[in-house]
Symmetry: C2
Subunit: 253 residues, 2 copies
Amino acid sequence: MPNPWTMKMEQFTAFTPEQRARLDELVEGRRQDYAPDEDILVEDGPINECHVILSGLAMRYKLLANGERQIVAFLIPGDLCDAEVFVLEKMDHSVSAITPTTCAVISAATMKTLLREISPMSEALWWGTMTDLAVLRERLVDIGRRDARERVAHLVYEMLVRFRTVGATDDDVMPWPITQDELADATGLTTVHINRTLRQMREEGLIETNRREMKVLDAERLREVSGFNPNYLHLIRTEQRQGKVAERAGDLV
Amino acid sequence: MPNPWTMKMEQFTAFTPEQRARLDELVEGRRQDYAPDEDILVEDGPINECHVILSGLAMRYKLLANGERQIVAFLIPGDLCDAEVFVLEKMDHSVSAITPTTCAVISAATMKTLLREISPMSEALWWGTMTDLAVLRERLVDIGRRDARERVAHLVYEMLVRFRTVGATDDDVMPWPITQDELADATGLTTVHINRTLRQMREEGLIETNRREMKVLDAERLREVSGFNPNYLHLIRTEQRQGKVAERAGDLV
DNA sequence: CGACGGCTTGAGGTAAGTCAATCCACGTGG
DNA sequence: CCACGTGGATTGACTTACCTCAAGCCGTCG
């Protein structure tokens, strides 16, 4: 069973068995566990090494002076927390665990060596970064120009697609440890309004939720409601690899 | 007088005179002019070559099915429109000129050669990309968690800082060809509300505007109002180069 | 079994939106 | 050189999506 990082990169590029083995070995190496709500990286803190999420769910967020929080991204297995390690010295935002999560920790030096020696990695890193940018732009469209229902629907649908690519879904059921509070801080709404919005979506037969999972009942209608267009995730090559993705199963979150 | 692209990169890195000459030569090469409202790149269009803004002002935006528009970024001289050239095949958003703007056009192949042969360039490109990510996150915080006045103030302040780094300001006066319509689409508000917000800011003595310029009357208070923290622009090294920046003068926009 | 974190709901308030004029600067053609 | 057209800025009156406050609920864990 491939590790989620390699798996994510293979959405875009291909590795030789030797390269894959090397990555596996690395991921088997130094690890770090984080409890829910524990910070993985803190704003203004130094950036020394790379953290790759292996299991669990995390978020990037910023705090305002008045204590308000804006969640700017959710991180799922396979995601890299700190690509800025190569060029920046201090974090401009924080990353914290939502569920218990474990990261592979890779020193900046090792990372640089990898990039030099495994040529597809550099391309994969660029791809991941360009995708992060695109996701952020889409989130901006969401918050700037869509109403509450569309925003939530869009975020849910995006998470569904992303979870699928690491094989963490089962028949449109995905892990959903995200609280209504967090959902509110991610969509620029309030908890109360998120609650009412989710209720409406439940009543419409779009979704079903319980404390740990979200079931998408009518994916097609959810996609329509949200105005979701998958082009920004740049997963064109995924279809070609559908088999590879499907063979993956397990509890990553 | 250095070209704005080199100048931007030198906020972060240093080039030898030979390297700088090579970049200058490149920028002197193939160029393309765009009229206001003309698209530089279109959503779903192919990505073939790199466009670097040399003068003018442009924007990245996405259109929704209902015709609404969200502007996700403004591009000023020195900015690269399409870093995705290395890894992606199709644009997931559009870029268009606001004022008449001219770009240096660099083929993907040349760009790759540059990255290989001018080692600081690769670092500078990463830095630019990481900064773009950070700016996008900050915009998300803006739209998600700040009210209209704070949003506008924040955007104005950010533009002031960015314009300063390419020497396009003069005593807190900066080019401002951005219409209230565009400002609305960038901040997730409506034109009407932008108008009232600007009026309030004028009445408070924060800014003065005319059709082509914005004058910041009280930069310090504007910064406070907006909750602006420059850390996300990662310009730490700028101060060291203040002299270099100051020596630049001219009409880039 | 009690406490706590997260979910739910109601009532009332407000920032921002909508609609619809009007105004104003500027460029164009007669 | 002036009337006119046009894109952008302004303003008023009214509406609404989302917020605030405040209470109650419910499941889980020590």
